[in-house]
């Protein structure tokens, strides 16, 4: 997947994440890039904007543009079934449908399912130059981006402790002339570490991945955008851009001083008509210079 770009669109609910994701996809497809747009937002509305039914099955909108809506619940169900196959212990505890439902919403599960969906799609759908991700709004999107780093933090600690246990077992085995047993816990920790490490590297690679925080020209969405920006920075994620959707003026860039600090961002002008169906293509044609600027990496 060298050279393949990942573009993520998130922000406060209602700011136009899905619309900007679609517009960007259409722009890139028009430039000859092969683009897959996937909605990971549990409150999908990509299909509504396109005025068509969407599902997990990718739908080709044009020669270079394909779109799909991902069901996070389906990923979780598949994951639980997979665990059960290997471990009746899990089935005993979480076997009932009601318990399974609660488990879906337990801490860590939604972002885990989103990461699984991301990983599976990126590593199995070949032939695309760009993956566009229509993300959930701020809180869940933030957990998605932070999850690999948080998991790696815990896995490092658990691996350190596990090495001590293995070392101690080997010491004891030497006294009793038995071999130290193969440690499946350690193997699983290493396996999980590799998975999250790869995700972390992919999501934070400034040359290949960009997070677009969408805001509107109102203080609430701008403040939320700034909080998201701050939280991403605190966890070492720096490959993001601020984009003002439905900006009033024709400026291609804007400066935000809502909280006394200066933030530079990109802008997309408001549309004269409702951005649905064919109006999306008209908008992209009219404002291609804005997308050119928006998609120039790492400015």
């Amino acid at each position: 997947m060298s050279g393949v770009r990942q573009l993520f669109f998130t922000g406060k609910g209602g700011v136009g994440k899905s619309t900007v994701a679609l517009l960007t996809g259409k722009f890139l497809a028009g430039q000859g890039q092969r683009v897959l747009i996937s909605s990971l937002d549990p409150a999908h509305n990509t299909g509504d904007i396109l005025e068509m039914e969407l599902s997990r099955e990718p739908v080709k909108l044009s020669e270079n543009l394909t779109v799909q809506e991902i069901s996070i619940g389906a990923y979780l169900d598949r994951y639980f079934t997979e665990i059960e196959k290997h471990d009746p212990f899990f089935a005993q505890i979480f076997g009932a449908a009601a318990e399974r439902q609660m488990l879906r919403y337990s801490p860590g599960m939604e972002e885990f399912a989103m990461l699984s969906a991301y990983y599976e799609i990126v590593h199995s759908q070949f032939g695309y130059d760009c993956f566009i991700w229509d993300m959930p709004s701020t809180a869940l999107a933030l957990r998605f981006f932070q999850s690999p780093g948080v998991s790696l933090f815990w896995l490092e600690k658990l691996l350190t402790m596990r090495r001590q246990i293995i070392h101690k077992r080997k010491e004891l085995a030497a006294h009793t002339e038995k071999d130290g047993e193969n440690d499946k816990v350690y193997d699983s920790l290493i396996h999980q570490f590799s998975y999250y490490d790869q995700l972390q590297r992919e999501l934070t690679d400034e040359k290949k991945a960009s997070i677009y925080i969408i805001v509107n020209n109102d203080s609430l969405s701008r403040l939320e955008g700034q909080r998201l920006r701050k939280n991403l920075l605190e966890t070492g994620i720096e490959n993001f851009n601020l984009v003002m959707n439905m900006a009033c003026s024709n400026t291609k860039e804007w400066r935000d001083e809502t909280t006394g600090r200066l933030y530079k961002g990109y802008a997309l002008p408001a549309s004269d008509s409702r951005l649905q169906g064919a109006a999306l293509d008209e908008y992209v044609k009219l404002h291609s210079a804005y997308f050119d600027l928006l998609l120039t990496p790492n400015q």
């Binding site: 665990i83 290997h86 471990d87 009746p88 212990f89 899990f90 005993q92 505890i93 337990s106 801490p107 860590g108 599960m109 885990f112 999850s147 780093g149 948080v150 998991s151 790696l152 933090f153 815990w154 896995l155 490092e156 600690k157 658990l158 350190t160 402790m161 596990r162 001590q164 246990i165 070392h167 101690k168 077992r169 004891l172 499946k184 816990v185 699983s188 920790l189 396996h191 999980q192 605190e234 966890t235 070492g236």
Partner: protein
């Protein structure tokens, strides 16, 4: 790992030195018990790894569960299969 996580972890009551430093002088059961305490932290009212990490380890952590909750491994299997109640 960033200072943010280290500080976050300490703020929640984990003294990293006593938990993570090399402790080769300690007994195997003590090391296993401590590993289990971190793994099952959520049940014990402590910060703990995300659930997906725990779920992946489920088939292999009977011993740790037994150490932390003072069961023996056979007892856990019996309880989970709907047999003996503790």
């Amino acid at each position: 790992m960033t200072a943010f996580f280290e500080n976050f972890f300490k703020a929640l009551g984990f003294e990293s030195k006593s938990l993570w430093d090399d402790s080769s002088g300690e007994s195997l059961s003590h090391l296993e018990r401590r590993f289990g305490q971190v793994l099952f932290g959520q049940i014990l009212g402590r910060p703990s790894p995300p659930l997906p990490i725990l779920f992946q380890l489920f088939p292999h952590i009977r011993r740790e569960f037994a150490q932390v909750f003072d069961f023996d491994e056979d007892e856990i299997s019996e309880i989970l299969s709907g047999g003996k109640k503790r």
